[in-house]
Amino acid sequence: MKKWYFIGLGVTVVLLSSFSWSGFFDHQVDYNEEVKPVLNKNCMGCHGGVKQAGEVSFLFEHEMLEPGKSGKIPVLRGDADASEMIRRILSDDPDERMPKGGAHLKEEDIKILKKWINQGAKWETHWAYKRIEKPEVPSNKNLWNLFGLINTGNVNWPKNEVDEFVLQKLKQEKLSPSPQADKATLIRRLSLDLTGLPPTEQEVADFEKDTSPNAYEKVVDRLLKSPSYGERWTSMWMDLARYADTKGYESDGGRNIWRYRDYVVKSFNADKPFDQFTIEQLAGDLMPEKKTGMPSDENMIATAFHRNTMINNEGGTDDEEFRVAAQIDRVNTTWEVWQGTTFACIQCHSHPYDPIPHEDYYKYMAFFNNSRDEDVWDEWPKLRFYKGEDSARVEKVKSWINKYNPKETQKFTQFMRVMEPKINAHSIVKGDESTVLLISYYGVKDKGNAKIPNVDLTGAGSLVMNISTKAENAVMTFHLDKIDGPVISKLNVPTRDTVLVTPIPKISGKHDIFLKLKSPKNPTEWVRITWLAFQEALPGAGEPEYPEILKDYSTILTKSTESMPVVWEGTGDFARKTNVFIRGNWSVKGAEVKPDVPKLLAPMPKEYPKNRIGLAKWIVSRENALTSRVIVNRFWEQLFGRGIVETVEDFGSQGAEPSHPELLDWLAVNFMEEDHWSVKKLLKTMVMSATYQQSSKSDKGRQEQDPYNRFISRGPRVRLSAEQVRDQAMAASGLLSSKMYGPSVMPPQPEGIWSSPYSGESWKVSEGEDKHRRAVYTYWKRTAPYPSMTTFDAPSREFCQSRRILTNTPLQALVTLNDPVYLEAAEKLATTMQKRGKTPEEQLREGYRLLTFQPINDKSLKVLVKIYGDALKSYRAKPSDVDSILVYGKERKSPELAALTISANVMLNLDNVVTKE
C-alpha cells in the first residue's frame, strides 16, 4: 500500500520515516496483486495443480525454479531474459509460444512479469493465508479539520473503528456517507438483522420516544438478549451445517436430528464463544467429563453437525462408497465453513490455483475417518435418550458396575448411550444359505453359515447381538477359527427383534468367528442380524442379582428409544487407516497418510493431539489465518448484504479481493482478542457503527459511482431471506407462534409436493400453533424442500452452502400473492386493521404502519384506497366471493373485511415490505 498525500506537517514526518526511496524510483512489483492474477489467468490452467504440462508448474515456489522437461528453468531469479517463461511468452514460433493456442499476453502483463523476475521473483503468500495482524485504525482527523473541531470530510461521522476504515475508503473513492436512517427504519433493520423478526409496534414507539443518547444501544442490547436472536442465526448456520430432517438420496427417509438444531439455537442465545462452539461441533464426542468419563449430552448432540451428511441405503449400493462420500463431505464442509477455502478440488489433484498438494486432502480426511458411522440404514452411532423406567434401569446397571468393577462403568455407559463399538452386518462374510438383506441386515437360513472376520477377543466375555426372526426354535452357534471349530456360544433365537447378551469363554487374540444356524421348523425363514459386539462380561457374575442385571442390560439395549445420529470415534480395531485416493477415486488407494493440517497454513502446535480435538483447536487458534476472517466476514455479509470478501465461500486467490482488507483484519483480531469469540459483541460492534446506521436510500450519483454499494456509502437494502419473508408475514399479522425447539413442523403446503418412493412418509399438516412456527422449525426434506423456501433461494441442503444468491423471479411473486400461508396472514392483518380504524383510510394507514412502521404518504394511500374501493364494490356485487376469500379466521365475514384482506395482500407484496431497508 503506497498511499501518500501531503496532509500536514506532523503526518509528513511519519510518512518520511516509512518511506522507501527505492520504491519511489523503482516501483516494486507486488506478487499477490500484480503477478498472481496474470499467472492464474494465463498459465495455471496448464501449469498449475491440475496439469503440469512439460513438467512446469507455477503453483509452488520451488516448482517455478526447477527445470522443466526441456531442462530449461522457467523462472531464473534476477534475469528475465534468461528465464524460459519469458522466452516462450515472447517467442514467434507458434509451437513454442505461450500461452499455447491462446491469446498473446498483454504488453503490460509481460512488463510486470519481466520486472518481477528482474527484481528477484519474490514469492509471496496469498493475503488470506498470512497470519492476521491487527492493523492501525486510520485517523481521518488532520490539521485542516482541526482534529475534529470542524466537521469537514465527515470527521465527526465515525462512531467506532469500523467507520474510520470505511470513511478512509469512501474518501479515496470520492464518496461520502449517507445520513443516518430514521428511527423506525433503523429499528426494523436492526430487529430483522438480529432476530429475523420485525419489531413490535410498542418497541418502535418506545424507541421513537426515547431521546436518551444511548437509546439505540438499548435496543441493540435488548435484541441481542431476545430468544429470537438464536433462531435467526440458526437459520444461517443451517445452510452451512447442511441440516435436513431427511437422509438424502433416493429414499430420502426421515432422520431424527432436530436436537442438533436446538443446540445451535441455544448456543447462539447463550453467546457461547465461537471457538467453543466450533470445538464442540467438530469434536464434542472427544471431550469426556471427569466425573463420568463420558462427554456431556450437549457436546455429543453438537457433533451431529457432521452427521448431517447423507446416507444411501438403496439396494446394491456399497456402504463403504457412501461412507467415504460422507467423510469427503465432512472435509469439504469443514473447509468451507471455517476456512472459506474450497477444498473439494484437492480431492482429485493439487489445488489448481492455491498451493495445497493433493495428499493434504487425505491427511485432513484422516482426522474424520475414524467416526464409527458406516452408511447403515439405522444411522449408527446414535445417542440414545432413556426415559422413565428405562432411565432407572440404566442407573441401576451403572451403579452395579460401579460396585463390582468401576473401571468398566464408562465402557458400559458408552454402549448403553451410543451402542459403540460394534460390528455392523455388512462386515459379515458370506457363507452358505446366507446373504446380506436390504444391504443392512445379514440373513441366515436353516443350515446356513457365515464368517465374522478377525475379531479381537482379548478381554471379551460376552457376545451382544441384535437379532430377529419369524422362525421358531432356531438355534445359532458360534465357532472359533473354523466352520467346525469349537463352539464358543450357542443361543436360541427368539421370534422377535431383540438384543441378546450371551457369555463366551475367555479367549485372547484375533480370531475368525463362524456362525451356523439350525432352523428345521421354518427352514426358509430368514434370521436377521443387524449388528454384533464382543465385549467384556458384566462384572459381578455369581452374585444372586446378576441374572436380573443381565436382563436389565439386555432390555435397555433392546428398547427402541428416542435417539439421534452423532459422531463417535472408533479406536483400536475400530480405527481406520486413511489412504490417498488416486485422482479422487475411493476404490483406487494410494499411500497411507496420517492426520495433519495443510502446510499452507500455520502448523498444528506439537502439544495438540493429532485427532479431531487438536484439529478443532487448531482451527480456532490465534495462528489460524483464515477462521476469524472467514467467520467475521460471514456475519458482516448477513448484515450488509455482501461480504467484505464478496466470495464468502472462497478466500483463495480465485476468490474476490476484500473491499476493506484492513477492516476485515481489524474485526477478525478484535473478535479473537478483545471479544474472545463472542458473536454478540462482534455483531454489536458492527451494528453500533455509523456505517450500519446509514440510510439505504440511493441517488443517481451513488448509483453511478458505486452501483453495488461496495464501499458502503449507504445502508444495506436487501431482500429478506426465505425464512424472514415468511416469519415477517406471520409476525406482523399476529399469527406467529413463539414456541421454541422440538421436532420439525409441517406448515400447510400444496398437495403432491412429497413423493417418497419406497416409504409411506407423507406431509401431515401440523396442528394448532405448530402451523405458525418460525420457518427455522419447518421440516426439511432434501429431495422436496418446502416449496416457498426454495422459491426464495433457500438451498436443498444436500451440501454446505455459504451464500444464497438472491434472485428476483415471478415465482416469488406468485408465492406472496397466492400461497394460502400469505392469504391467511392477509386476512388476519385485515382483521386487526378493521379494529384499529373507523374509516377505510384509517384502516389502511394502520395496515401499512404495522408492516413498515412508516406513515404512508398520500400518493400511496390513494392507491390503496382505490384498490380497497374496487374490491369492496366487487364483493358487494358478488357476496358469495366474500365467503370464498375469507376462509381462515373466525371473524364476521363482510365485504369490507374481504376488501381489507385484498388490500393487505397488496401490502404484503410491497417492495419495502419484502426488503430490509
Partner: protein, 491 residues
Amino acid sequence: MEKLLKELQHADLHGQTRRHFLQSAGFGLGALGLGSLLGSCSNSNAETGVAAEAMGAKIPQFAPKAKRVIYIHMAGAPSQLELFDYKPELEKYHGKDCPAEFLEGKKFAFIQGVPKMLGPQGKFNQYGQSGAWMSDYIPYLQTVADEITFIKSMHTDQFNHAPAQLLLHTGSARLGRPSLGAWSVYGLGSENQNLPGFIVLASGGRQPDAGKSVYGSGFLPSVYQGVQCRTGGDPVLYVTDPNGMNRNMRKQTIEAINEINKQTYDDVKDPEILTRISQYEMAFRMQMSVPEVMDVSREPQFILDMYGVKPGEGTFAMNCLLARKLVENDVRFVQLFDWGWDGHGTTAGDNVEGGLRNKCRLSDKPVAALIQDLKMRGLLDETLIIWGAEFGRTPMQENRNGVVMPYMGRDHHLEAFTMWMAGGGVKKGYTHGETDELGYYGVKDRVHVHDLQATILHLMGFDHEKFTYPFQGRNFRLTDTEGKVVKNIIA
C-alpha cells in the same frame, strides 16, 4: 442460426447493462416488459467475479442446431432387447445358464447366483429406408424410423434408478449438481417472457426416483431449476388466484403493488425495485399463459386423435401434446418423465411381456405423433427430441433372491442400452453403435452418458469442456471430467 447467435449476444449485453437500461427506460406498466428469465435473475450483490458471471447468458461456442429440447425419460428403464436391439442369437440361448464371464466381478441390483438367459419377446423387423430394427411393441414409431438416430451402445456407471437418473441428467450420481435443463437455460436463456424456460411434466403416477434433483438447479441460481407443471392442482405452484378473487381484481392488485413500488423507487432509487415490478408483471402474464398453454381444448380433433389424447387426462400422451405446445411457445427445455418402465417380472404389470407392451401401447402413438406434429409445423429441425432411460435391461432373466420370477423380467443393466434422438441437428435414419450378439456389451462405438451429454450440449452450441460454473473452488461442468462428442450422429 445466425439469428439465434445474434439474439444471444444481444441477451448477453442486455444482461450486463440491464440495470442501466432499466434506469433509463420509461415507466408505465408494460414499458418494463423486459423480464425474460435471463434478465429476471438478479443479484444485488453481483458485480464482478463469480456471481456476475453466473447471471449473463453465455454466448454459445458454436451456432446451435437445437434451439429447444424435449427430453423424454422413461423412468424405470424399458428393455432395449424387446424394442430396438434385436438379438436373434439371444433367442437361441433362451432358458440356458448365463455364461460365467457375464457374471464375474459384476454387480446387479437383484440378480443372484447364475440366472438364465431370456430371449427377445418382440417380433422384429426392419423399417424405413434406413432399415432400422424395431419390434412389434412400437408400431407407430416404425412409421417415423427415417427421422431417428438410434444409439445402441449406450452405457452408464450406475445400476440403481435414482443415482443412474442423476448421472444421466446432472452428470453426477450424487445429489447437488445442476440438471441438463438447468444448464441449458443458464446457457441459452429463455425466449418466452410469459413462461418458465425449463418445464417438467410427469406421468405414470409417480415422480422420478431421484425427486426434484433430476431437474434441479444444483449450485446454479435457483432461477434455472425446472418448473414442474402439474396435471392436478395448480399447473405451476400458486399460479391460480385464490377463490373469491377474480382476474380483474388480481390485475388491479398487481397494478397497485407496482404503482406503490414505483413510488418507492422514485424515493430510494434501488434498481432492484424495477426488476421486481417487471417480475410482478410477468407473474400476472404467467397466470394467464400457463393455464392457456396447459389447456388443449382448443386443439383440433385430428391432433387430439393423432396423439391419442382425451382432454382432462394427465397421461403421457397429454404431456407429449403439451410438450409440443410448450416448444411452440419457445420454452427452451421440456422434460417429460413417465414412470412405470421397471420390468423386473415380479407382477403382471412389471415385466417385459404384458407390462412393457402396455406401457408401449400408451406411449408409442403419442411419441410418433410428437415427431410428426413438430415436423408438420416446421419445428423439428430446431427441436431436439431425446428418448431413453437411465439404463437398460439384462439379457438374463431376473432371479430375485435366487428364485425364478412369476413373469418374464430383466434386471437393471448398465453395460448396454438404446436411446434415440430426432430433429435438432442429428442425422435422420441412422444407427450408431452395436452390442455383442447377446446384447450384453456395446462392442462398437460405445457411448457413455457423459458422451451423450457432451453431444446434446454441442447440438445446443456449447463446448461441454468450456461450459462451466464455479462452485466450491472448482469449475464444474455437466460432463464432470469426462465426455466426448459423438460426432457421427450429428447431421
